[in-house]
């Protein structure tokens, strides 16, 4: 039962990765890789120990925590990029207002 529950919790990462693709391909790829790793560990727990041994981490449980950290990092990075994108939109809006006003004022002064 817990396996299905964890799978359900991990699946939204793929949806998130699909959306993140539009902002950063690196972040989206990282999410897919980390999500796939998490799924693998849920369905074949013994593989975590094999991977951990191969990577020199020690225990599979430690590796799961590292994967979790990687996922969190990717999500934070994605949020940072989204905030930057929003800031860029605000900048364009502010610029349009500023330039438009200055040009309007100049035209008005020329008329007078």
């Amino acid at each position: 039962m817990i396996v299905y529950l964890l799978t359900l919790l991990i699946l939204p990462f793929y949806l998130y990765a699909f959306r993140a693709w539009q902002v950063s391909r690196l972040v989206a790829t990282g999410l897919v890789v980390a999500g796939s790793g998490a799924l693998l560990f849920v369905w074949i727990p013994s593989i975590a120990n094999d991977f951990a041994g191969a990577l020199g981490v020690g225990r599979g449980a430690d590796l799961v925590i590292y994967v979790y950290c990687l996922l969190s990092f990717m999500l934070i990075l994605d949020l940072s990029l989204k905030i930057k994108a929003q800031h860029h939109t605000i900048t364009r809006l502010a610029r349009e207002i500023a330039v438009g006003r200055a040009l309007d004022l100049e035209r008005h002064e020329h008329k007078c």
Partner: protein, 232 residues
């Protein structure tokens, strides 16, 4: 110094990005105005009287409704210049550290070389009052620029630049804050447009040192550039 005639001044706009510069902006605008330049001050959401003082000194003032950063202000100034029909655009600092007479040297260099961008270099020209720490930081920025863009410049973060209309149309600064200085070089390198350096003089005063960026800000710049590279 070259004897080549500079480009005509009526086609040239000096863009000054300013944030809370009420004590220095009027003198900067007046110095430029006395030499016959059109000046556009981009008031980057200042909380003081920067805009009114710049306007009283004779500049066109383009006002950001909110503070966005120097890079955003410069891009706004460039867009204003392009939409107002100027053929040549100069970026000039608001804190009085640039010499207005250097603009003539940039113009002469542009005519002589035919380049779309003329970039000021304090290391080819001179500096007054520069600290050793600042010199070291700027040299590191030069090395960083060489590695990331392949441009062999002597000064990578000089705010005094002259560009043609074509050059200005070829750049679009997305870095709102100080990383724009690296970004513009990136874009110049990527555009394939010709650029040259020109000796200029930078005067460091107590005021400009206080207004200038700290060494720690270089970490922010690197982070901004890293995030920019992650996009797509």
């Amino acid at each position: 110094m070259s004897t080549v005639e500079p480009v005509k001044r009526p086609d040239l706009l000096v863009v000054v990005a300013a944030y809370n510069e009420e004590s220095a902006i009027a003198a900067v605008v007046e110095e430029l105005g006395q030499r016959g330049y059109h000046v556009a001050v981009v008031d980057d959401g200042s909380r003081d009287a920067t805009g009114t003082r710049a306007s009283a000194a004779g500049a066109v003032v383009v006002t950001h409704p909110v503070n966005l950063g120097q890079g955003a202000a410069l891009q706004t100034g460039l867009e204003y210049g392009l939409r107002a029909g100027f053929q040549y655009l100069v970026t000039f600092d608001a804190d009085g550290q640039h010499d207005p007479d250097d603009i003539l040297r940039l113009q002469a260099k542009m005519v002589e070389s035919g380049a779309e961008f003329v970039l000021g270099s304090r290391f080819l020209g001179g500096t007054i009052g520069m600290t050793k720490a600042r010199r070291l930081l700027l040299k590191l920025a030069v090395a960083f620029t060489r590695v990331t863009t392949g441009m062999a410049l002597s000064d990578a973060h000089n705010g005094l630049r002259l560009m043609t209309r074509k050059g200005a149309q070829g750049v679009y600064l997305r870095q709102n804050r100080m990383a724009h200085a690296s970004e513009i070089l990136d874009q110049i390198a990527a555009s394939g447009l010709q650029y040259v350096e020109c000796p200029v003089t930078i005067r460091y005063t107590d005021y400009s040192k206080a207004k200038g960026q700290s060494g720690f800000n270089s970490i922010n710049i690197l982070l901004d550039l890293f995030l920019q590279r992650l996009r797509k």
